[in-house]
């Protein structure tokens, strides 16, 4: 699996490179050919691809199952939004503090979890517990609107990229930049000393420790990187949607939506979360469209579909769609195949 996950340029076949270039080109010019609706769908796709990539750093690279990633999205969103609304500090500066706060929260969870030996299911539960505590807590913080929601001022037609105010196309390109950045960062990390330590910790913690890997440090850095990246996704969300509700931002359902792309695309792979988002979100949108076209009002059908996707994938393609697809279409070289 790591043989597939480690490659992006090295080990990618010619066919794979062509496809990659085409996909990049297609995404780069998409807003010029697509209508508003399509751009908004693509932005959502890219957002999920990005946060899925961020989650993947913890689960995919380091084997730490977090089911509370909505916590970091929410903290990033609320910190940047509060700085903007209350102090007039724009998101480009605010995101630094947003990331720091999310990393601090991640480090508290990580410290408690790893120091006290909270493992597996228990660790996952600890992450849920913190996200839920934040959800209930933010419901009661009136400084950021409490359960009534927190709203960013919107000026129609204003274009101010310095404050991340502008048209949907601006947000599209910001999301695209986030995805590309996260992809390159993930690849660089995976091929670094730290990345190899993560993989060792994921596969055989005891053996990794015996060969001198500091388990605690390796895991903590994974949490820190993942939470910082996820917080950026939160900053984006706050300025894109201009409204924040604790019940949505911190919800368990949001945490599940974040883990879906990576699971469907392939946990621990670099392309997996992106592919997963491109599979799931359009299918979900199509489903919504069909329901509305049929004149039906069925809240929950989209989520039901996501649940079914989860079950189908985990039963039939537990390693995800990407490793299978890459093998079938010969997008990457198989182990043992000559260069």
């Amino acid at each position: 699996m790591s043989g597939l996950s480690g490659v992006m340029v090295s080990g990618v076949t010619g066919r794979g490179l062509v496809l990659l270039a085409l996909a990049a080109l297609g995404l780069a010019v998409a807003p010029f050919v697509a209508d508003r609706y399509l751009v908004s769908v693509l932005t959502t796709v890219l957002w999920f691809a990005y946060v899925g990539q961020a989650w993947n750093v913890m689960m995919g690279f380091s084997g730490l199952l977090s089911l509370g990633h909505a916590l970091y999205v929410g903290l990033g969103a609320y910190v940047s939004a509060a700085l903007f609304v209350h102090f007039g500090i724009g998101p480009w500066a605010g995101m630094v503090l947003a990331m720091l706060v999310a990393v601090a929260a991640g480090c508290v969870i990580g410290f408690l979890g790893f120091r006290f030996g909270v493992k597996g299911v228990h660790f996952a539960l600890l992450t849920i517990a913190f996200a839920e505590v934040a959800r209930i807590g933010f419901d009661h913080i009136t400084w950021v609107g409490g359960s009534g929601g927190f709203f960013l001022p919107v000026e129609a037609g204003a274009t101010d990229p310095l404050n991340l105010r502008g048209s949907p196309v601006l947000f599209y390109y910001v999301a695209l930049a986030l995805v590309v950045g996260a992809l390159f960062l993930s690849r660089a990390l995976l091929h670094s000393r730290l990345g190899y330590q993560w993989l060792a910790v994921r596969e055989e913690p005891d053996a990794a420790e015996a060969s001198g890997v500091d388990l605690f440090r390796a895991r903590m850095t994974a949490v820190a990187v993942s939470s910082a990246l996820t917080a950026l996704g939160g900053v984006f969300q706050a300025f894109y949607f201009n409204n924040l509700f604790p019940e949505q931002v911190f919800s368990m359902g949001r945490s599940i939506e974040i883990i879906l792309p990576a699971i469907v695309g392939g946990i621990g792979t670099l392309v997996g979360p992106i592919l997963g988002a491109f599979i799931l979100t359009p299918l979900g949108e199509a489903l919504t469209f069909l329901i509305e076209a049929g004149g039906l009002d069925l809240p929950g059908l989209k989520q039901l579909f996501y649940g079914a996707a989860l079950v189908v994938i985990v039963v039939f393609r537990p390693e995800g769609v990407w490793p299978w697809l890459a093998r079938r279409l010969r997008l990457v070289r198989q182990p043992g195949e000559g260069a």
């Binding site: 006290f116 909270v118 228990h122 209930i136 419901d139 368990m252 599940i256 809240p299 989860l310 079950v311």
Partner: protein, 289 residues
Amino acid sequence: MPIDYYLNIAASGLLTGLVYGLAALGLSVIFGVVRVVNFAHGEMMVAGMYGAVLLGGWLGLDPLLSAPVMAALLFACGWLLQRGLVNKFVERPEHMQFILLLGVATILVNAMLMLFGPDARNVQVPYSFDTVEIGSMLLDAVRLRAGAAAIVVAAALFAFFRFSRTGKAIRACADNPLGARVVGLNIDGLYALTFGIGAAVVGVAGALMTLLVDARPQLAPEYTLLSFIIVIVGGLGSLPGALLGGVLIGMSEALAGFLLTPSLKSLFSYGVLIVVLLLRPQGLLGKRS
């Protein structure tokens, strides 16, 4: 009389906590034997609630009488789920099991949302406003009945595992699956049976819960998390621990809801969970592994 006030609140918390404990008991049984965390537990509980609501609406059945019906139905569902899906995952990595049941949970809760809508539904019982005076305390009749029924079901479950041959076989499975296989026990069959029993227990807990709370799909993930918290506080795999944890959480919720605001009450349970995870990760009555 402030002290009577607190006693009263603690006592109603205790009774609610017994129902919580019963739900958690189901989770604990499944985890203790099959070693799979049933992430769809709260969803099954809410299914039990809707079952009781429907039976109450159609036949005017008291939730106490709907409980055995829901037990039978959920037993069948749990048995099928284990046979058809979960059994393939027993040997797979933990996060795979988790994700599988997360998927099942998502399907269940949204199916209920589509079937019953987001609005709260309840069952009418003639004694819903009655109170019973015990000493200086005034307790709701519904709460007393639900708590008493939870004790009866829990006792029956303890007796089953302690004295019956099948119960002993299941315990053997839990202690040593390989050894159990060696002496000729049908592990897969016993796993399915156990999952069925766990589902039946939480179905009963759901039916009883309709006496105390209106059924809403949104309750499902809350109850899943609540059952987890209780099981971890009490000790994974310890049946008395699950009941004790339920009572503890029920009482702390009731008191927190009274002293602070009701919307903050679950914050308290998460606080209890985090403290227990850190200071005594095996739970109050759990054995150190």
